[in-house]
Amino acid sequence: MLDWVRATPAERRLLPGGRMQGPTPWVIAIMMFVMVVIAAAGLSLANAAGVVSRGVENRYSVQVANGAARAPAAEAALRNAPGVAAVRPVPETEMRKTLERWLGPEGAKADLPLPALIDVDLKPGVSPQAIATKVEAAVPGARFVAHSATLKPMLRAIHSLTWVAFAIVLMIALATAAAVVLAARSALAANRPTIEVMHGVGATDDQVARLFQRRIAIDSLNGGAAGALAAGVVLLVIAGGRAAWVEDVAGGPLLTFLDLVALALLPLLGTLLATLVARIAVLRALREAL
């Protein structure tokens, strides 16, 4: 199946030109560079969304309107409820400082009424509804709000961006395939006399196609490796030159080991795609002649 990979020196001489000659490997290098960078961005976004999502999965807030006086009752109800892992009343100063960022100095004035706010972490598997019922019973009117609900629009946006990134990767792959088809046709046209002679002396389409698919495979592998290497350097630079650029604002890994393996496989997958596309394009073109 992979006989075409091995070529005798005589077979190699049949098509003129050498490594990284002509535009094809450079086009593939640029395509692969963009593909790896976009894929890395997509994977980072997906991982970041996962980290954020997991971080707030069991986190809730209890809001008690005008309730500085009623907050202790809510806090006590929470501490006594089974399945509550942590309870942390948010200090008013902290809330006013946050408000000040949005509303300016007016937000920090004491005459602006604020609700009492208590952050709650539940143990995994605990029903938030049961806790909400207990809080409501202890402090009527208290609101039990999931952080995930608050962050849902942001997570949705991140997921959308992730899919956009993967769609771009797919489109670049298709564009690369189209470029390979053009390159294969161009190579066929440039080597038409050689092909005619080969057919004339009894070469099969497969023998001819193997020459071109091997050439495209080498160009793709060289170009793809160069593009991926350049992308890797750029990503390392973006990450501040750290070898393990796994820290991020979300506090989790942006790219896992498997992600890095997947990114490293992109040039190989690109080569396989280019080779397959080149073979199909060449065989189709050859069928047009007797």
Partner: protein, 241 residues
């Protein structure tokens, strides 16, 4: 493989390119295996088109063609390479691969056929020596003279000992001495059993080939031979040896 009585059979063959007029009309003949045939006729008579049909570079638009005893008129294209390997071709314009050495050009049919490199090496060296180009083995066609290119083309055509050799003006670019040598080579091949078909305008070539027969084309059709050739052909439509 048993010896065939008839190696080529054309049955009311016609050929037109696209929607143009027929360039070959009602060709109806048989060529005996082991025969030596000259294809003559004025320029534009259809000689090259007939050769294209013979070396399977073109399908007829009507009629039937049999080669080596097999009906190939409508044969699928993937069935043709084994037949092409049994045919040697000398193109009028040589069609050497410019970026390959003379050695590699001559070796091409053997390599395509999957012959071991040791056999390729010895056969090609021997053939290049025979056509007087032993010292030009590594030269590329653009550095060769017209005559040298012609000889490389002939060496490539005969290297695989084809059963049928089709040559389009094989002596058109060589001097008289080399033309004699080429004719000698073709005759020697013919004696070994190869059927030879040579398209030529060179009457001296025809008269110097005892036993050869002639197919004359004019305006795309076979015509009775004219002139006082030493070896008159068989009846039109039956050029048997």
């Amino acid at each position: 493989m048993g010896k065939l009585a008839t190696i080529v059979e054309f049955d009311r063959v016609g050929l037109r390119y696209g929607t143009g007029a027929e360039v070959l009309r009602d060709l109806d003949f048989r060529l005996a295996a082991g025969g030596f045939y000259f294809l003559t006729g004025p320029s534009g008579a259809g000689k090259t088109s007939l050769l294209k049909l013979l070396y399977l570079a073109q399908r007829p638009t009507r009629g039937r063609i049999q080669l080596f005893g097999d009906e190939l008129t409508d044969a699928p294209r993937e069935a043709l390479p084994p037949y092409r390997r049994r045919i040697g071709i000398v193109f009028q314009d040589f069609r050497l691969i410019r970026h390959l050495s003379a050695f590699d050009n001559v070796a091409l049919p053997l390599r395509i056929a999957g012959k071991p490199e040791a056999e390729v090496e010895s056969s090609v060296r021997e053939m290049l020596a025979w056509v007087g180009l032993a010292d030009r083995a590594s030269a590329r066609p653009p550095t060769l003279s017209g005559g040298e290119q012609q000889r490389v083309a002939i060496a490539r055509a005969v290297i695989a000992r084809p059963e049928l050799l089709v040559a389009d003006e094989p002596t058109g670019n060589v001097d008289a001495e080399m033309a004699k040598r080429i004719l000698h080579l073709l005759t020697a091949l013919n004696r070994l059993g190869t059927t030879i078909i040579v398209a030529t305008h060179d009457i001296s070539l025809i008269t110097a080939t005892p036993g050869a027969q002639m197919i004359r084309l004019d305006n795309g059709a076979m015509v009775d031979p004219t002139g006082s050739l030493k070896n008159p052909p068989a009846q039109m439509g039956r050029a048997d040896a």
